[in-house]
Symmetry: C2
Subunit: 311 residues, 2 copies
Amino acid sequence: METSRILVGIDGGGTRTRCLVATTDGRVIAEGGAGPANPLVVGLDRAVENIGQAVRQALEASGHTSAAVGAVCAGLAGAGQPETQARVAAALPGALSLSPGTPVQVVSDARVALAGALQGRPGAILIAGTGSIAYGLDDSGRLLRAGGWGWILGDEGSGFTIGRQALAAAFAAKDGTGPATRLGDRICAAWNLQDLTQAVPRIYADPSAARTAIAGLVPEVVQAAEEGDAVAAEILARAGGDLANLAAALLRRMQLREPLVATTGGVLEGVAAVRSELVRRLAELVPEARVVESAASPAAGAVLMARQMAG
Amino acid sequence: METSRILVGIDGGGTRTRCLVATTDGRVIAEGGAGPANPLVVGLDRAVENIGQAVRQALEASGHTSAAVGAVCAGLAGAGQPETQARVAAALPGALSLSPGTPVQVVSDARVALAGALQGRPGAILIAGTGSIAYGLDDSGRLLRAGGWGWILGDEGSGFTIGRQALAAAFAAKDGTGPATRLGDRICAAWNLQDLTQAVPRIYADPSAARTAIAGLVPEVVQAAEEGDAVAAEILARAGGDLANLAAALLRRMQLREPLVATTGGVLEGVAAVRSELVRRLAELVPEARVVESAASPAAGAVLMARQMAG
């Protein structure tokens, strides 16, 4: 019988799931990964399946079994609503073979990102990966958000929005409704298409799946912008501006004594043009805001929250 | 054995399918209807099923059986690509119990709308219903298009785009990233929601199905605009302007001797604010363009094309 207890922290995004296993004092001892875990996009079953795969991989690497798990915290994209959180939380004990009574918490991916980035301090986090959201904890302990309404209703400044605007700009250039751009050629090369119109049936056959493929076009937009394509540069600048608006709207509502904004996600970490425009524009909108590096990853934030649950 | 021959014309849209049965001289004798028939959105099987239902209903009303059908022309939303047209055309003879050798043609919904609107004359048609497209036949017999890339990549000025922008504006007002609007309250009332956030899981559970529900929000936007909501009025004006851009881009490429633009679809026929802005803006962009009434419906255009096929 195992007597040592361990903590499991999960960051389930729109593209991939990451799991960390840590000792009860928060030291990370193993890691696992799997596909997307946004229950609204891939469905509850597949989300739980991918979480299970990431956790099993991490447990195996740690040398522990599920009997040793003392607490689980999962932050998932698409799990902002209490009903969604409850449905996933009900499925996890069985899927992860947890001992009866093991505490399990399911929150949004933004919540664990905030916990990791600011280690529990008040402030905001701005996330731009496949999707986007601004999320924060104010001085009185309230959690607030702006954006994060998903790829149909929101996700301004996200990888998906950048990719979709690149596709729309390529079609507009073809139609003559928009300026010329090399984005069409870049997209055809990246997706191995003879003609841009071949993208149409591919995208509509499974829109939810196409979402990650479209977000995967961000490097093409960056490359085109670096080669001098004005349309591509404009798309990246607009993303930075939209993210600044999102953060500014949240900060105005939060009224923090010290308005910290940490950033995370592939777009803000990987695309310098978006990040620099965000910083420039946010300085105009909320001069007292301070953009800071995240202290730790969303998965580490999930571990931190699991640690608090385990007492 | 039946000796009289009849013609079948089908207009399959993103929301509903309409079938007309006509005599060989083009006189309409019966009509049938069913649900959506966009094969890219509802899938090939359901599209064919709905077409079959509309045709059976019209045949029954006409007092003829499928043995009397002399030619079938179906214009379908989402059937702009030759491969999609070929797949539907291969499924229809069986689904409609046609006599062997009965000519069947599948084209885009824009193609039959053009045939109906201008009765074969050169010119353009601008369609804004659930989706949008500009489509035309030039003086040398070439078919050209602008827009119509579907709800993820295009559909500027469509009912879906108007509805999505209304939802996005309602969320932006809630977040503080956009101006106040009564659209949120209107959407909650129309969809029977206690809170706007309840729209989120509803939309992402089945994005393709949500598409028609979102397009169904157009009357709420119209109502809000008429009550003085500036955000709603701006969404409708933008739709009119985007549709003018689409038509103008097509007309520039077509170089017609007489630049006629017919209009059709629920948004252009039913929303005066969109239509008036289209007319105003198109007059600025292409002063020589003339916006005309459609001579006949897309389904009647399909009958016209079936008549040409039957010789």
